[in-house]
Amino acid sequence: MIADALRRRKRFAGIRGAGAKETRLDDLMQENSTSKNPYTIDTEPFYLDTGEEIRMFEAAASARLPVMLKGPTGCGKTRFVEHMAFRLKRPLITVACHEDLFASDLIGRYLLKDDETVWVDGPLTRAVRMGAICYLDEVVEARKDTTVVIHPLTDNRRTLSIDKKGEVVQAHPDFLMVISYNPGYQSVLKDLKQSTRQRFVALSFDYPEPDDESRIVAVEGNVDADTAARLVTLAGKIRNIREHGLTEGASTRLLIYAAGLIRCGIAFKAACIASLCQPLTDDDRLQETLNDLIDDLL
């Protein structure tokens, strides 16, 4: 990476406008001079493989194919990406997408520093340069004129065009684009365009099977297996009334929250009400049903 940066410095030396300090190179050199990349994951995040998703992701990474993760909220998409970043020993840069996200927020912009203008790479450019995994979370929330920025990176070109600098960055061989979204409640106006969708390999996620989910809740929530099993049983019942009142079922994340509260001494019922009943719905009648289900398990 440093060698690349030095080569670039030489290349840009004769170009007008490159007189501004190429602090980006210095930043990179500085980053590499320290032993710790802030985007590197040092500790293995717990993830329980429930299907072929790890193998599939590794294959996609090896073939440099961008990956799309689809699934309901709280089912482990982000955790999976973190786990894969650790497993593949690549840095992970996450961007939470929203409708005010501009292209320059991803690519980078010039900023004033002391008395000079400096170019600061955005998260996407950093990932492209350093060969990180760039994870765009809830990509449908971003505006479509922003998401098209990733198009050249997600086909055979694997390049990122920085118009302001007149630079075309060739993606590092280890660079990988990953996006996620929840197809369940997206409106018609917010769906992914086909021209974007068809640039990705898709992995579908769902809530794990009860035994697996119990194990996950027990580990992440640091509770005993019996408590984890009861929470998972409760989640299963709640998911039965998805589309019969609830927009979404109880996610694994909420179960882990409940487990966390129980571990800290909160009573089972109170923890479930705070973590599961209240966040899921404001409807009194549904709350009543959820309370009935909790009482069955006490």
């Binding site: 007008r16 406008g17 007189g19 501004a20 912009r109 010039y110 900023l111 004033l112 000079e116 203008t117 170019w119 302001k164 409106s187 018609v188 106006l189 049983t233 019942k237 709640i238 039965n240 009334i241 589309e243 019969h244 009142g245 009648r285 549904l286 009543e288 049903t289 009935d292 289900l293 009482d295 069955d296 398990l297 006490l298």
Partner: protein, 916 residues
């Protein structure tokens, strides 16, 4: 002698009946009908005189004579001589006041005199004397109600009713008021629930004593909720009401009739009884969550004629695998919360049987794995017979086998519930062992196997009859072995029954089999073979036929597995699906399965689940499901919606309407001009505009410092916010819209069309996209959907002509039309999507009426709302009866009482709906 009359063995009676028959055969027939079969010798002594009196009565008036014959016959057959004398005396006294009164007495005195309560007859005399002071017209309806009460053996109610009548008719009331009360009081009393009739009558009497004008308010209060109060609670409530009335008559009236909020809250606080309707939604939601299935809750009174197998008290809960039947109301406990909890308890008990597969019993699976020779006839398949009935048929003592099956199956479920739902298990066990509660429900528990039931299900210590000790302990050990792995199924229980029955027979344990007393369980629960059929009977029949078809080709599948597949896939099953169910798959069986694909498809079509050919008239046809509110689930592919074109064109109608309403059109155009969006949105990076974009300015400065060419897009523009509304106006074209609204034969639909014309003008001004469609049809396979204008169709003369050409069609299957409209509107990318239903009444079609139609329409509206489509309704020409709230939601419909107001109001409603 009339040949239809059965000849009496007694020649005297025969002679007298012949004599009467000469006077009137009808009278003779009625009298003889009571005398035949009666062994009373007394009657013979009195019969001669009775016949003479009847003949005299016939001479006075024939109806009176016949009633007298009937009455005399009944008294002679079932009364005493003293009754006969009293009857005769009272009727003769009545005769002096006219034959009408005499006939009434002849008819209604009999039950009074023969009920066995002499005081009732005294009270009857006193009351009728008071009533006759007002006039004979006061007697008919009340006496009929009194006879009804006595026939139902509600003697205490009869006394109370007579007191009520005495009190009421002793008051000074006008003639009209008296007539009104004469009809209202009997009707009301007959309508009271049997269990609470007595104190409700007394309450009515108490109120009338205070002020007879309050009677209506009291009856209204009963209809609104007071009828659920216990006796003590009702008296307390009436105390409060009377006190209020004394302070302020208006307030008292509103309190008594439950119109005031305070009254409603007081009544609710006093209420002990809980009607099923109040808890049903909650129970169904719980069952849905608990089992993952659409289990319906229905009242026991709705049971389709099926009775328990044995002569015992009605169970408090019954279940057939997909519907749980509960009491119409429960007032057994002293508190409302306890009665609600009892409902939940009963539902929870049955939910366990559904969740853990009790009703999935498959005899074939039992026999395959039992390793025993099949009981005789158990392998024959009778489509209408449940698997439980088939299973029990093979035993020498089916009742014993049923008890054992109930015992083991309830025990198995109890083990599962204790494992997965410890909280529920504790509550259930507590209730099952609560003697106080069991006493209140009136079900005495008992039976030979009760000690074992107590141990396995109620978690009590084992305390068997000493004579059965070793047998019971053996059964417990076997049961424990069966359930310890956690993989037990209902077939496991069935196999255990076979083992235990065999054991009991082989040991010739006389105590066990010959002195057997059947189980009587808490709440009267039991498994009933005749009631054990799967709820989806259509799926059961189809599964049976598929099973038969496959068996003929030597392909072995279990019928219960096929049925489960059908249920899970809404009746759609393919050969590929069945492949996974084959018991011992092989190349030969798979090949045989492929051969029977056409047969499977034909079977599916035969049962209504196949994909039938679309209409041959070229219309686009779409299948939709329909919601069955009773079942609590959808009927898949039930309805066929065909898109059709409006025939003809009437452009003149459109132009004429604009002309007739020219003043209103001007006002509408002006109003909708104002509706155009005022709010601004900011567009960035323009070369010119209203103001600088500071962010762009910053970039400009930075780019310049960096030696780059800065952008010249430095401005922002403020634009009016765009209205992004897509509306679909769905018009009911049922034949009721042909009704006239005035003496010029203007139809309801004509007024609706005028309103549509004005709305189109308004929408053109404001720029919203809109579509217009009409719907009608007959039957589930004949729903017509007329696309008059699509969203993207220009509003041209063709559209205007089609609006004018709309005409009344047939019926109103509203749910299907809404679903089709939702399907058309769902893909439209608009910020606001709106369906406006314009109609003149409620959904009504073949086999689509009343609450069924309302529930399906509600469901369709809910589906639309789930798809982020707003649904509003405008109804004309219907009086508001609260059902519209139930149909559309209270805040989602507008009722226009005078259809003439529709053109103006439709436009106003639309502007209100879509205003930012």
């Amino acid at each position: 002698m009339d040949p239809a009359l059965p000849p009496s063995p007694d020649p005297t009676v025969r002679r007298l009946m012949d004599h009467l028959a000469i006077a009137d055969p009808q009278a003779a027939k009625r009298m003889n009908g009571h005398l035949a079969g009666s062994e009373s010798s007394v009657r013979v002594l009195h019969l001669g005189r009775v016949v003479e009196e009847v003949i005299d009565a016939l001479a006075v008036e024939i109806t009176f004579g016949r009633d007298l014959a009937d009455g005399m016959g009944r008294i002679l057959a079932g009364g005493t001589p003293a009754d006969l004398d009293r009857y005769r005396g009272m009727v003769n006294t009545a005769v002096t006041r006219g034959p009408t009164l005499a006939a009434l007495f002849a008819r209604h005195l009999v039950p009074v005199l023969t009920c066995g309560d002499a005081r009732l007859a005294d009270r009857f005399e006193t009351t009728t004397r008071i009533m006759m002071q007002k006039g004979t017209y006061t007697l008919k309806a009340p006496l009929e109600a009194l006879s009804t009460l006595i026939e139902k053996k509600e003697i205490a109610c009869a006394h109370a009713f007579l007191d009520l009548l005495s009190t009421t008719y002793a008051l000074e009331t006008s003639y009209n008021r008296t007539v009104y009360l004469t009809h209202t009081l009997p009707r009301a009393v007959n309508g009271f629930v049997t269990a609470r009739r007595l104190w409700q009558i007394r309450g009515l009497m108490r109120i009338i004593r205070v002020d007879e004008r309050l009677a209506d308010d009291y009856l209204q209060g009963l209809a609104s909720g007071l009828d659920l109060l216990s006796e003590a609670a009702l008296n307390l409530f009436l105390d409060l009401a009377i006190r209020r009335h004394r302070q302020n008559p208006d307030l008292g009236t509103r309190f008594l009739s439950l119109e005031s909020k305070q009254a409603i809250e007081t009544c609710r606080a006093f209420q002990v009884a809980v009607p099923l309707a109040a808890v049903r939604p909650r129970l169904e939601r719980y069952l849905r969550a608990r089992t993952g299935l659409a289990v319906a809750i229905r009242p026991l009174s709705a049971l389709p004629g099926k009775k328990p197998d044995r002569d015992r008290p009605e169970p408090l809960v019954r279940c057939d695998g997909r519907v749980i039947y509960l009491p119409d109301e429960i007032d057994l406990m002293d508190r409302r919360t306890d009665n609600t909890a009892l409902y939940q308890l009963l539902a929870g008990l049955e939910a366990g049987a559904i969740e853990f597969g009790t009703y999935d019993l498959d005899v074939e699976k039992v026999l395959d794995t039992a390793g025993a020779a099949p009981p005789p006839d158990a392998t024959e398949t009778h489509t209408a017979e449940s698997d439980l009935a088939r299973f029990l048929r093979g035993f020498a003592h089916p009742d014993l086998a049923l008890d054992l099956f109930t015992l083991f199956e309830h025990g198995r479920i109890a083990r599962r519930v204790s494992r997965y739902y410890p909280g529920l298990f504790r509550r259930l066990t507590k209730a099952l062992t609560d003697g106080h509660m069991q006493a209140k429900t009136g079900h005495r528990i008992g039976g030979t196997w009760l000690p074992l039931y107590r141990h396995l299900v109620m978690n009590e210590a084992l305390a068997p009859d000493p004579a059965l000790n070793s047998t019971v302990r053996t059964m417990v050990n076997r049961f424990n072995r069966m359930t310890e792995s956690g993989n037990d199924t209902v077939e496991s229980s069935a196999r255990l029954v076979m083992q235990c029955c065999a054991n009991l027979s082989s040991h010739t344990n006389a105590t066990a089999t010959s002195a057997f007393r059947p189980l009587s369980l808490p709440f009267g629960r039991r498994l009933e073979p005749a009631f054990f059929g799967p709820f989806h009977s259509t799926y059961h029949r189809l599964a049976t036929e598929i099973h038969k078809c496959l068996t003929q080709r030597n392909i072995r599948v279990y019928r219960s597995d096929v049925r489960r597949l059908l249920v899970g896939q809404n009746g759609q099953v393919s050969a590929t699906d069945i492949r996974s169910l084959i018991v011992t798959p092989s190349t030969a069986t798979v090949a045989a399965l492929d051969l029977c694909r056409p047969d499977l498809a034909a079977l599916m079509c035969k049962h209504g689940f196949g994909r039938s050919a679309e209409g041959t008239d070229g219309a686009h046809a779409f299948r939709y499901r329909e919601w069955d509110g009773c079942m609590g689930d959808y009927l898949p592919n039930r309805v066929l919606v065909r898109e059709r074109e409006i025939k003809g064109s009437d452009l003149a109608f459109y132009r004429q309407t604009l002309d007739d309403f020219r003043g209103l059109v001007k006002r509408i155009r002006y109003a909708f001009e104002l509706l155009r969006p005022e709010e601004m949105t900011i567009l960035r990076q323009w070369r010119e505009g209203d103001a600088f974009d500071y962010r762009a300015l910053l970039d400009y400065a930075l780019d310049k410092r960096a030696g780059l060419m800065p952008s010249d897009r430095l401005f922002i523009k403020r634009m009016k916010r765009v209205r992004d509304v897509a509306t679909l106006l769905l018009v009911d074209l049922s034949r009721s819209t042909a009704n006239s609204v005035d003496d010029r034969d203007t139809r309801v639909l004509d007024v609706e069309k005028q309103a549509i014309v004005l709305l189109c003008e308004a929408l053109n001004v404001v720029g919203d996209r809109f579509a217009i469609a009409g719907f009608s049809g007959t039957g589930p396979l004949g729903v017509d959907y007329y696309r008059i204008k699509d969203l993207d169709t220009p509003f041209d003369d063709g559209v205007k002509g089609r609006i004018g050409a709309m005409a009344p069609q047939r019926s109103t299957r509203m749910g299907a039309a809404i679903r089709h409209a939702t399907a058309l509107l769902s893909p439209v990318p608009a910020r606001v999507r709106l369906i406006i239903i314009l109609g003149d009444g409620f959904p009504n079609d073949l086999a689509y009426k009343g609450s069924y139609a309302v529930e399906d329409t509600r469901r369709a509206i809910m589906e639309a709302r789930t798809a982020a489509i707003h649904v509003k309704a405008i109804t004309v020409n219907v009086s508001d009866n609260g059902q519209l709230d139930r149909l559309y939601g209270g805040a989602h419909h507008t009722l226009i009482g005078n259809v003439r107001d529709l053109p103006d109001k439709l436009v106003r409603v639309y502007s209100a709906l879509t205003r930012h």
